[in-house]
């Protein structure tokens, strides 16, 4: 078996899997922290109940994100040793900083938060969850700084065949980072907002714990509406930036084979099986130029021309990513994004009209919408990463040159199979728990002095004095 294909497949599987959990961690940490802050400010029990209920789901999800994250860090060295050698001088730094600045913060203070309900003052306890939220979101920043280098290398020089960091500030100020980071953070907030709205809708439909879930829905709807607008605006700028930095990714995402001026936007394009030309396409004239340049004209380079250009620049080879995957993942991301934008604003509308509970159709919609952000998150990363093919670091190193030269295909296969099996089993356990606790709702009465949860169930109250 070809170790390159296996290693790529493994990277795709473990990374997409890891990113099922990460966005919810990013967003829900902030939402839970807000809820607890309201509790500290107002002293009202309903906010405490909310904090504990959503916190429980947060903790289950967080655990999955943490353990699958360890694989991510090890994997670069295990499967991609030559890549690690080539970029280690640059790529290792953000990963180490991520651990020092973010992983310690989130892991240590989550422990404090889970076990510290009785040990800490109310205020300090709320600070703990804020530190978890800050840690998680900082970790997103540093990993995106690392990833941005792969998309758009900056602040480096090539010395003795290795990329060497020459400007740390440039690495951090990489324009890519400041497009991807807000996009990821707002995607996290949207994921969490729709998660909270979906589960709240489920209970509101059944008229259970109405006060808790009405308030939760409200908070989430406000955050969700802000997040979806940010996602859309930011996604738009991100695509515009591709014109200059990764035109091939853009051309593939649009299935634009020939250079056009003005360029049309593809509504539906079907290519042949070899993915080298189009068979059929519905296009809206001028629209792509407009979206990219804010005017109805402007040249957008097509795949053929870029291929020819890259052959001149980098030598002969195939520089065309798998067009169909990039095209469709881009469309899924944008399509779902538009749906979320509409739903997010609709949620806000319901909240402002104070008719959340009354609208049973709306509530049903929000239960279904819970899954949408997951689809968009995965599609977005697939477009970003697969659109970079054949490069592992754009313009500097190709994927096939990055693997571990002495790790045989059989070993990579072992690891691919093992991770797939373990991850599949854990997904079953994770969904089982999330469903169980989401459906159960908060415990009926939540007394400070004794835990009302039945013995053996998780309790966040510890009276270990």
């Amino acid at each position: 078996m070809d170790p390159i294909i296996l290693a790529r497949l493994q990277f795709a599987i473990v990374t997409v899997y890891h990113f099922f959990f990460v966005p919810l961690t990013l967003g829900l940490s902030i939402i839970v922290a807000l809820m607890e802050t309201f509790y500290v400010r107002t002293g009202r029990e309903v906010f405490k109940t909310m904090t504990k209920f959503w916190g429980k789901l947060f903790v289950i999800n967080f655990a999955m994100g943490v353990v699958t994250g360890i694989v991510q860090e090890f994997q670069f060295g295990m499967n991609w040793a030559d890549y690690s050698r080539f970029v280690g001088d640059i790529f290792g730094a953000p990963l180490a900083i991520e651990a020092l600045m973010a992983f310690f913060l989130e892991s240590v203070f989550l422990g404090v938060w889970i076990f510290g309900w009785k040990r800490l003052s109310k205020g300090m306890h709320a600070v703990a969850i804020w530190l978890v939220a800050i840690g998680s979101n900082f970790s997103a920043l540093w990993i995106l700084i690392a990833n941005s280098f792969m998309q758009q290398p900056v602040g480096y020089a090539i010395e003795n065949g290795r990329a060497v960091m020459t400007d740390f500030i440039a690495l951090i100020l990489n324009p890519k980072v400041w497009l991807m980071f807000p996009h990821t953070i707002s995607a996290g907030l949207a994921t969490a907002a729709f998660f909270v709205m979906g589960i709240s809708a489920y209970h509101l439909l059944r008229k259970q714990n109405v006060e808790v879930f009405n308030r939760s829905f409200k908070i989430a709807a406000i955050i969700g509406a802000i997040a979806v607008v940010m996602i859309a605006l930011n996604g738009h700028s991100q695509t515009q930036q591709l014109v200059d930095t990764q035109p091939m990714k853009l051309a593939a995402a649009e299935a634009l084979w020939e250079t056009e001026d003005p360029a049309s936007l593809s509504i539906l394009t079907i290519g042949d099986l070899s993915q080298t030309k189009e068979i059929f396409s519905i296009r809206i004239p001028n629209l792509l130029s407009f979206l990219l340049f804010n005017q109805f004209y402007g040249e957008v380079e097509g795949i053929y021309d870029l291929q020819a250009e890259y052959e001149q620049l980098y030598g002969s080879g195939n520089y065309i990513p798998p067009v169909a995957i990039v095209y469709w993942s881009f469309r899924v991301m944008v399509g779902v994004g538009i749906l979320l934008l509409i739903l997010g604003l609709y949620g806000l509308f319901l909240v402002m009209r104070d008719s959340v509970e009354a609208s049973s159709t709306g509530l049903k919609l929000f239960i279904l919408a819970l899954f949408l952000p997951y689809l968009a998150n995965s599609a977005g990363w697939m477009m970003t990463e697969i659109g970079r093919v054949p490069w592992i670091v754009f313009g500097l190193m190709k994927i096939e040159d990055g693997i571990s030269p002495t790790v045989p295909g059989s070993m990579v296969l072992t690891s691919l199979v093992l991770f797939t099996l373990v991850y599949a089993a854990l997904m079953v356990a994770d969904i089982y728990l999330l469903k169980k606790y989401a459906k159960a709702g908060p415990p009926a009465a939540d007394d400070d002095d004794k835990d009302s949860a039945p013995e053996g169930e998780i309790s966040f109250v510890s009276t270990q004095d």
């Binding site: 290792g92 740390f168 169980k436």
Partner: protein, 344 residues
């Protein structure tokens, strides 16, 4: 002292911190099925919950030491990171699976009452802790012994080479010491029945821990270049490690578990320090040709990156020590076997 040496020391410190901290929670995990035993099913479950609650607030923060050591290796010595992680492929793969199963098990176990569910995760915690400790020992013993590395800094030994008797002894010693370390920790953190059985276990585990440690010392003289590097009299550091291991038995016997915990910590710290002293300035020794060995110079990042990383470390490491230390202070009390007061 140049920055390469500074980073070598820092990475050594990170691994030492990891072994001391996660060492006891690995040990607690290994002891779970043995000490978590009662006359009724309810009592068994309660004991297991108490055991897990002793490490509950800490284990995840402890594990970050490993992640940070890995990240720091990648940042400061990318060629070491690449060679070691691709070379120790299967041990690291199984280590990852063990860490994943164990971490999820600790968090998920308490969240459902079904006895089968709990049994599954109990097993996972036990096996995950045992396998992690074993493999870490195997990996570090192989670092001491040296592995076949070719002129291109690639490990060319295959999987079975890593499972040599010396490395396996390293793995078993790590398991034994972590189990002792964990039993002592439980003696400090529990009450009543459980405390008594943990104290007894500590005494029983002390014997194999010392025996394997001594065997490892002898084997290290024979299998590595320890003798040429450190001489017949290996110096104060390895000797302190061994003496601490003996003193540990004395303190366990006299029920001074705080002191005993200090002694196992010293044993772990000084054994690893010995290993890193044997390596320096190498980071991976090639058994094919010493010239192919990876050193803190030929495997390092650029001076610029090392400088940046040094500044980052100077800011964050003290901060981390402070707040992580604070959590040990917050949760310093013993865990009682009262179902209502348990979090897990």
């Amino acid at each position: 002292m140049d920055l390469n040496t500074v980073w070598f020391i820092l990475i050594a410190v990170l691994y030492i911190g990891f072994f001391i901290l996660e060492g006891f929670d690995f040990g607690v995990g290994m002891l779970l099925p043995f000490l978590g035993r009662g006359e009724t099913k309810e009592e068994t479950d309660l004991k297991r919950r108490v055991i897990l609650n002793t490490i509950g607030p800490f284990w995840d923060g402890n594990e970050v030491w490993l992640l940070t050591a890995g990240g720091a290796t990648f940042a400061a010595f990318p060629l070491w990171y690449a060679t070691m992680f691709s070379g120790f492929y299967l041990p690291f793969l199984f280590l990852l699976v063990a860490l994943i199963m164990r971490g999820i098990a600790i968090e998920f176990r308490s969240k459902d009452e079904n006895p089968k569910w709990r049994k599954l995760w109990d097993w996972s915690i036990f096996a995950g802790s045992l396998v992690s400790a074993l493999l870490l020992g195997v990996a570090f013993a192989n670092l001491a012994r040296g592995v076949p590395i070719d002129a291109n800094m690639n490990y060319v030994g295959g999987f079975w080479y890593l499972l040599n008797p010396y490395a396996l002894l390293g793995g078993i010693t790590t398991v034994a010491i972590f189990a002792l370390h964990g039993a002592i920790f439980l003696s400090m953190k529990t009450t009543g029945d459980l405390r008594e059985s943990a104290q007894r276990a500590a005494w029983r585990l002390w014997i194999p821990a010392v025996i394997t440690l001594l065997l490892l010392l002898v084997a290290t003289y024979m299998s590595t270049d320890f003798l040429t590097r450190l001489g017949i009299n290996p110096g104060i550091i390895p000797i302190t490690g061994i003496v601490a291991a003996f003193l540990c038995g004395y303190f366990v016997r006299r029920n001074r578990f705080g002191w005993a915990f200090g002694m196992t910590s010293i044993t772990i710290a000084f054994s690893l320090t010995t290993l890193f002293l044997m390596l320096y300035p190498n980071v991976m020794i090639s058994t094919i040709d010493p010239a192919y060995s990876l050193t803190i110079y030929n495997a390092s990042s650029s001076p610029y990156t090392l400088r940046i990383m040094t500044i980052v470390a100077l800011i964050f490491v003290p901060l981390i020590l402070l707040y992580q230390g604070w959590t040990y202070w917050i949760f310093r009390k013993r865990i009682k076997a009262e179902p209502q007061s348990l979090t897990y």
